[in-house]
Symmetry: C2
């Protein structure tokens, strides 16, 4: 006999029984806080017995507190089928050869029956079944490199991906797409920029903010854009390809080092900070915005630099930060610390002695700004000067996340302080952007066109 | 005899001597990286001997690496005088009584001769001397509560300010302005929102991004806006008053809980995130944007809640975060941790056991999002559900900085877990904004007007 209250227990189960409502029942719920329509979803093993989970018309799941429920009525019943039809991907003479690496994540996903949650899925035929337009863009082959949620990605995955990319480029592919969850997509973008240098072909990281079981999903569009960019674009760099404006007109290609996730749920969440995106992309073309980039080449020479020191961390400054935190990091054996300081790159006086001790013990401490936009500028105030004199090294406008990844990558190669500083301050692909004519100087000022643009674009 | 090379030593001193250039000399410098014009500034005691510091025409200081210098020529000489003329502030019958609290910071500052750096200054007559228009706006009295750089502000200063505000309201003032450095202005905005509740008068925090010795300074304009808002506005809340658009048309009044510094050097750096600012302000009027706010009243009843537990921290998640960091925080006696998670509020699996141990030991762990825009939504993925089941509490769209301040304030009052959670999740003044009609539900979705607006306003 089928379990019609799958996963529900205790008071939540009693509530369903009381109103004769089943899991997968289309249901109207009246509560003291409003009325809702949707489908009752199964619940997870660990879930509480205080909520009923409803998949509403937008595709979102909400948890309705049972103590607010005054009435429920089942108006229909449809057991969800999230299986995607599978078809063989056709080969078309003349189209570019694109390799899709699967890593897990929302780019192709389905509802997990056991938990009612969205879980990642990946298969070549499924992709074609779901997005047949892909066959007009490229000849696709796929490979599941591993399957982890984006938040569980880390150095072992970066190294594995870098090596897989190197091998694929050697094999003569025209472009590479990496399906990736969105949480830490920008971290992977930075990691692959440092680990895969001088690529002859585009390397495009793509994901979706809304899974393919939801009506407003960006999965198909992002995937088509990424495939097109990988197969046809002249830009042979590590890029993040995600949703552009809400109008759906185009997607953006972002440099892996300058992109950041800036909204937890919105589709247009990935933004290039402190610069313009690299290019726009549609299903029919890539239009470069930046003038300078690494061009596609015929040769197969690529530098794979798969290094990462794991004892690196980000210290996000807040008022009243105490020295015990820095001391503890040193005691735990951390070898590199990225501080995301306030203002132009500051922390409070009480942590000075701990910073000094850490640096004396050989810990490499670098400064970024938690404002995310703008540059460190540590010569302006006493605080910045004091930190500089202790040996804290400014990273200009490198994003804290890119700096963390770069420091792990750098310390994986050398522990020589001068080499570390040199590698960190030498920009590999715009993780630091410098403005003419002050290239090389410790000056980054307002009033230049880029900053003016920032304000125009950054209202709210 | 005057020291004409003040602070310079070693190779930098030799370079000045070689080209016959003095400190305060207007100088043309030719380098391998470009040419510069400006005034040679004195150097600080701790500074290296590798750079010559030049104050260029924009008001910024740059450090010129001496090894790049091919020629220097002194074209003039003018010793800077940063002293502001002091005049007695006039009393005008009928104008509102505004109290300005000085805390240090860039709102009024001058160049420090010893170090060549900008340091804060504060005196009532100086303010009038510098900005005589203030006399048309209000009757001003001032009080230096303390003098610390913004990055050194913390709980002792918050408590002192809250009490000083309470006393001043009792004394019958019409509005309060707090001069504040910009680095942690938003932290103080949050702290005072929680510590000073139900104020009958406006409490306006103001600063400047460019000090008053620079031509593009926003100090005077921000100060006039703040004085006007404090003396005349109907909005009796804790607000941050800073520069609006580059056109200078108006300033913004931001809620203390929703504002964040978003550019390290730009004047239009303070932004209300996930909402519109509270109001615009000019020298002649305040125009509310938000419909709901606390109105000015005649009575003098204000709640001063000066509490803060100092063992609270922010943990900014990054890929490969390791459990030793959380264990170390517990061992150091931390009682509260704000996680700034990825995506909808996630961390990686390896830290689960440490989080579990911490919560079992009574540490209060709350989740915010490092995307800054958007909401935690921990029911969507396994990861979020797992963290919820361990006892990590989501804080919706509370900014990590506001959450840190609120947790310190909350734990200063109670250590009872239920009370802590209740206080944290109950929004005092929009640190959590909820959308109708889902008030109270675990649902925050894209596609609503506010989020659409976000994209329009957040290009780049």
């Amino acid at each position: 006999m089928e379990d019609i209250f799958q996963g529900y227990k205790g008071m939540a189960l009693e509530t369903l029984k009381k109103y004769h409502v089943r899991v997968w029942g289309k249901t109207h719920i009246v509560t003291t806080r409003g009325e809702f329509d949707g489908t009752i979803l199964p619940r997870a093993e660990n879930d509480d017995d205080q909520h009923i989970v409803l998949k509403i018309i937008t595709g979102y799941n909400i948890g309705v507190d049972i103590i607010t429920i005054t009435d429920m009525k089942e108006t229909g019943y449809k057991k969800a089928n999230y299986k995607i039809p599978e078809k063989e991907f056709p080969f078309t003479e003349g189209l570019p050869a694109v390799k899709l690496f699967g890593t897990g994540g929302t780019i192709a996903s389905r509802l997990d029956y056991r938990t009612g949650a969205v879980i990642p899925a990946f298969s070549p035929g499924e992709l074609y079944g779901a997005v047949p337009e892909l066959a007009d863009i490229c000849n696709l082959t796929t490979e599941k490199v591993f399957a982890v949620f984006s938040e569980n990605m880390g150095p072992p995955q970066y190294l594995q991906l870098a090596k897989a990319i190197g091998k694929e480029i050697e094999n003569g592919v025209d472009g590479i797409v990496i399906g990736h969850g969105t949480d830490t997509m920008h971290h992977t973008g930075a990691a692959l920029t440092f680990m895969v240098q001088n690529s002859p072909v585009p390397i495009v990281i793509v994901g979706s903010q809304r899974s393919s079981d939801r009506p407003s999903s960006d999965a198909a569009l992002n995937l088509m854009h990424a495939m097109y960019a990988a197969g046809n674009s002249d830009i042979a760099e590590v890029m993040v390809c995600m949703f552009g404006p809400t109008s759906d007109e185009y997607g953006f290609l972002h440099r892996g080092t300058r992109v950041r996730k800036m909204h937890s749920s919105y589709r247009s969440t990935f933004r290039t900070l402190g610069d313009t995106p690299l290019a726009t992309v549609t299903r029919k073309g890539v239009k470069a915005i930046k003038k300078q980039y690494n061009h596609r080449r015929k040769d197969r020479n690529v530098k794979i630099l798969p290094y990462f020191e794991e004892k690196v961390t980000i210290l996000y400054y807040y008022p009243n930060m105490q020295p015990d935190i820095i001391d503890a990091l040193v005691d735990c054996g951390y070898k590199g610390i990225i501080i995301a300081g306030t203002g132009l790159g500051h922390v409070n006086k009480p942590v000075y002695p701990a910073i000094k001790r850490a640096i004396e013990k050989g810990v490499n401490i670098f400064m970024t700004v938690q404002t995310l936009w703008g540059y460190t500028h540590m010569f302006v105030y006493d605080t910045g000067r004091d930190l500089l004199s202790m040996g804290v090294i400014p990273l200009d406008n490198m994003l804290p996340e890119a700096a963390y990844i770069k420091l792990g990558w750098t310390l994986g190669q050398t522990t020589n302080r001068e080499e570390v500083i040199d590698l960190m301050q030498h920009s590999i692909n715009d993780e630091i952007t410098k403005r003419e004519p002050y290239n090389g100087y410790l000056l980054y000022q307002g009033g230049v066109p880029e900053v003016e643009q920032f304000v125009k674009n950054f209202r709210k």
